[in-house]
Subunit: 263 residues, 2 copies
């Protein structure tokens, strides 16, 4: 089994990805983003994304009800169904699902973020959280019957509300349960880049141990990124490939060693 | 088994519908519309719905690629996932699917509509069609495992493209395969109205035979509506209830004889 994570950028060659997947003889689970599409839609609908800054100085998107509406339209709606359509055209019998469907991806809602507003400290709580469990029975039901799950946010929280979550965390949880042989993460860069301003920092091969050493040395976003990759190994041995989603054959390129391979 | 058709108007009390369904001990399939939401979204996105008039004088919405995008966002995205979320909150383990997912609802694309434009006769072909088959295996897989399917357009056509279709036709096809004991159709009117300008034309009970006689006497939209109801009996005996979706308890009202019952 392969888990394929498709980044939500505009430049990922999804047609190429699906064509490649159709040539493999593997069970596949696809997890996709749609942030470029969501942002475009938000702009067209004159909806301004709210960024809040926590007391500890950490910026995040505030997922209010409207942002969840947008996620349902962009992720679970347009992007998901166009990917399913492409799969069907290539002979992959895809079934597109959000975390709400059959409680497929269950999460815990974040308790809130402390912010300073007008001299006061407020606790702002949005519809976001972390994945905590997978409905493995439903996933296996689909897989053993020849269907390819195509998954997206929103997740379902402990009170059955739709919540936003990070795809990195979703993939890590899926991997804990499903133990895929390979995880291919398609991004809009040639390979995993240690320093996004330095093209010479592209990494071709790296071990999990080296990754841990690396994590200590970096800060902020990159630290979180490396942590997310490390988590993929929590469920046991696997191969993680971070590769360019913009090429003609993104999956075949990834499998042929053109991305960053982590073992 | 009950099939519940939820109209796509703004005034349907979906919370009430789901609360009612949660009290029943029945297998359920939900088919929902979202035309009000889609039209609202189209307007906000400055997308003008194209209405074309055929040579025979019949008006229809032209489903171009953009209209399918809108259907994916409004029907399969926002409306579907909010209904699934409500179901989960009431303890119904819903799974929202479009006709594309697992080729659940397969259709045949319309061959095109002849129109007059600039003195010429043109054949305009859009992404619309009629349902022809259901993936009964997938529906049963979900139903026997305790999941409640929540279905919407788009359908998948013979070349694996997403197409628009009428919910009346989808429900008729579902019924042919699934043979539900009751079909409840929730509308934004007190009951089935023979003449929409005459409140006294509300029908409480009617037989399939009476419906056929009635069909001969009426024209246009009403003729098509009656034909759609008649088709629901093609798969064998059932009870069709057309009832007000705007009340506090739309499903219980329907079951308690407040709608139009057709046997």
């Amino acid at each position: 089994m392969f888990i394929i994570k498709i980044g939500g950028g505009k430049e990922i060659n999804i047609k190429g990805v699906i064509s490649d997947l159709a040539t493999l003889n593997e069970k596949i689970i696809i997890v996709h983003g749609a942030n470029a599409l969501r942002d475009e839609l938000a702009q067209k609908l004159n909806y301004e994304k709210k960024i809040i800054t926590s007391l500890s100085g950490y910026d995040s998107v505030f997922s209010d009800e409207k942002m969840i509406d947008l996620a349902m339209m962009a992720y679970a709606g347009l992007k998901n169904k166009r990917i399913v359509e492409l799969c069907q055209q290539k002979g992959i019998n895809a079934v597109g699902l959000s975390g709400l469907d059959g409680k497929l991806i269950q999460g815990k809602r974040n308790s809130g973020i402390k912010v300073r507003e007008g001299g006061k400290t407020l606790l702002l709580r949005d519809f976001s959280g972390k994945p905590k469990a997978i409905n493995k029975q439903l996933l296996n039901l689909l897989l053993v019957n020849g269907y390819t799950p195509v998954l997206s946010i929103p997740l379902i929280d402990e009170n059955n509300f739709a919540i936003n979550s990070e795809n990195d965390d979703i993939v890590a949880h899926l991997q804990m349960e499903m133990k895929a042989e390979k995880i291919i993460s398609l991004i809009e860069a040639p390979r995993f880049l240690l320093d996004k301003n330095d093209p010479s920092s592209l990494v071709l091969k790296i071990s999990k141990t080296e990754l841990e050493t690396m994590e200590q040395k970096v800060e902020g976003r990159m630290k979180r990124k490396i942590l997310a990759i490390r988590k993929l190994f929590d469920g046991g041995n696997t191969t993680v490939i971070i590769s360019d989603g913009r090429t003609e054959s993104p999956i075949l390129d990834a499998l042929n060693g053109k991305g960053t391979t982590i073992t």
